[in-house]
């Protein structure tokens, strides 16, 4: 075995361990969601779908799921729209204080979530907007718009700046150019941003917990169940949330990767 081969094996083991470290808890959670025993112990009990049946029968869980759906869909649309606008303003215009402008836009994800959540709660209560579904939507939009902006900005940077001028030159007004050139060009990135922001919003806990009031989302209800007692229902909901989030992230990646491939081809 030559040195580079043994190095490869070591690196391979290392990568496998990283993946195991990240995914083991999730895999265990999935396994225990089908386990008949009340406490997560080994050896496992029998296979059961009891916990899934239980959460399906729980109206609180249904309500939370619906809230989560409304919040993540609305957030995705709003955040992607905001992200697109800021990305385009960066692409199109040069102005004083553009650096600080961009830094300000990209700031929210760098603020510790707990601080962000507290600030949101304080502010929303002050203006009488706390505890509503839309409070969560607003908070999540602020939080996820920078992700949408980053994705769309990458795409715009790949655009030949002459494309926009060419559209004007051929008689397209600013709005027509936006509709028939800029948006079609950014379409893969826009879809990618929609799925990504939906995923982030769907499993975001801290901010939701602070501002949601009685309108709980799925991550919030998971905490409530765990707080009460040890209940394998949590594993079932967790599995469900994980699958939804992963699906959204994978979809975002698919759109992201397909356009990368396309741009390599051209």
């Amino acid at each position: 075995m030559n040195p580079s081969r043994s190095l490869n094996v070591i690196l391979g083991i290392y990568v496998a361990m990283v993946f195991a470290f990240v995914f083991a808890p999730i895999v265990f959670s999935m396994i225990f969601s089908f386990n008949s025993q009340r406490f997560p112990t080994i050896p496992l009990g029998e296979f059961t779908t009891e916990w899934y049946a239980k959460i399906l029968a729980d109206p609180d869980v249904w309500e939370a799921a619906l809230n989560s759906l409304i919040v993540s869909c609305s957030t995705a649309v709003i955040a992607t729209f905001l992200g697109f606008c800021t990305a385009y303003s960066d692409f199109r215009y040069n102005f004083r204080f553009k650096g600080p402008y961009l830094a300000l836009i990209l700031l929210p994800p760098t603020i510790p979530l707990i601080i962000m959540a507290l600030a949101m709660l304080a502010w929303f209560s002050k203006i009488g907007m706390s505890g509503q579904i839309y409070s969560i939507i607003i908070a999540h939009s602020v939080l996820t718009a920078p992700f949408a902006m980053a994705v769309i900005r990458l795409r715009l940077n790949q655009m030949d700046p002459d494309l926009e001028s060419a559209a004007w030159n051929l008689g397209g007004s600013e709005w027509q150019t936006m509709r028939y050139v800029i948006i079609p060009f950014c379409k893969p990135a826009i879809f990618s941003a929609l799925f990504l922001t939906a995923a982030v919003s769907f499993d975001e806990f801290a901010v939701s917990w602070f501002v949601s009031g009685l309108n709980k989302t799925l991550p919030v209800i998971i905490l409530e169940i765990v707080q009460g007692n040890i209940d394998p229902q949590v594993n079932a909901i967790g599995t469900f949330v994980f699958l939804i989030s992963m699906t959204l992230v994978v979809l975002a990646q698919v759109f992201f990767a397909s356009r990368q491939l396309k741009s390599i081809k051209t």
């Binding site: 030949d160 002459d162 494309l163 001028s165 060419a166 559209a167 004007w168 030159n169 051929l170 008689g171 397209g172 007004s173 600013e174 027509q176 028939y180 050139v181 079609p184 060009f185 379409k187 396309k262 081809k265 051209t266």
Partner: protein
Amino acid sequence: MSKPLVVFDKVQKHFGNFVAVKELDFEIREGEFLAIMGPSGCGKTTTLRMLAGLEAPSVGEIRLNDHVMNDVAPHERDTPLVWQSLALFPFLTARENVEFGLKMRGVDKAERRKRALKWLDKMDILEFADRDISTLSGGQKQRVALARSLVMEPQILLLDEPLSALDAHLVIRMQAVLTDLQRELGITFVYVTHSQSEAFAMADRVIIMGKGEIAQIGSPKDIYREPANQFVAEFVGRNNILSGKVASLSDDTARIATPSGDFTVPTKEVHLVKGQKASFVISADLLHISIDEPDARNKAHCKLISEEFVGSMVTLFLENSTGHEFKVQMQERELSKFDLKSGAEIWLSWDTASAHVLNEN
């Protein structure tokens, strides 16, 4: 002479403190093929972009058909541009690209399609109509870009170094396509390029720009044989430039003393004073070479430094005893009679009428 279609009236363009265009005062005639040529950064593309409305003049007026165009938005003008980058829409097919301008103008679908296909056919790329742009070759993309502009049936077509990305053999083909099109359609072409061969091969008139100003306007032949000043003479390339002082004057010639010797130049078109500095050019193809000292008024003894072949033409690079470089252009079969080796000593001579005195500026 046809009437002016476009007038640049004392146009200047500043970007902050940077002056891209110092002062432009010229006309574009209806139906002509005008080339604007100059080194990069001379303001030629800025000039074209002002005509398309993508930049606004800082000072002065641009008039199209006697209308002042300064404040007309680009999309309200009928000045399609063929881009150096082509700027084809990558998410549309060839046909959809050609239809784009018509769609913006609100032409209905059937009519749009008919006209787009007609132009794709005219450009010999009808078979690629429904192909994605990314699957087309450079030459085919070029034709789509031309069709996309020409489908608008404009009075004037702007071209910004459209052939710079093509292979040499395609450039020659596209030059023929462009000149044929221009003649057939009878519309005005304004062609910006840094390539002398493209400009001279196609244009009726050429504007040479340098540092934001017009250095010379004229036919390709005028510019080649009678460059207005040293900048043009140097930019045009295959010229020999000699500088010195006027030693003596007669009726229509002058004797100019240069470090390389005394030479006689015609003075019909210039006014020279004894003792003043003067420069003159002789085109590289107007020099004669000989092994023995010729019996001529203008001659120089040189050493052959190198040769450069371009097809049947060959350019000799020579140097005289003072280190001045001479360029001679001739047919390869002419040269082969001499059987020259590098370092060979030969004589150059030229007719007095071949020299052209430059205006000092």
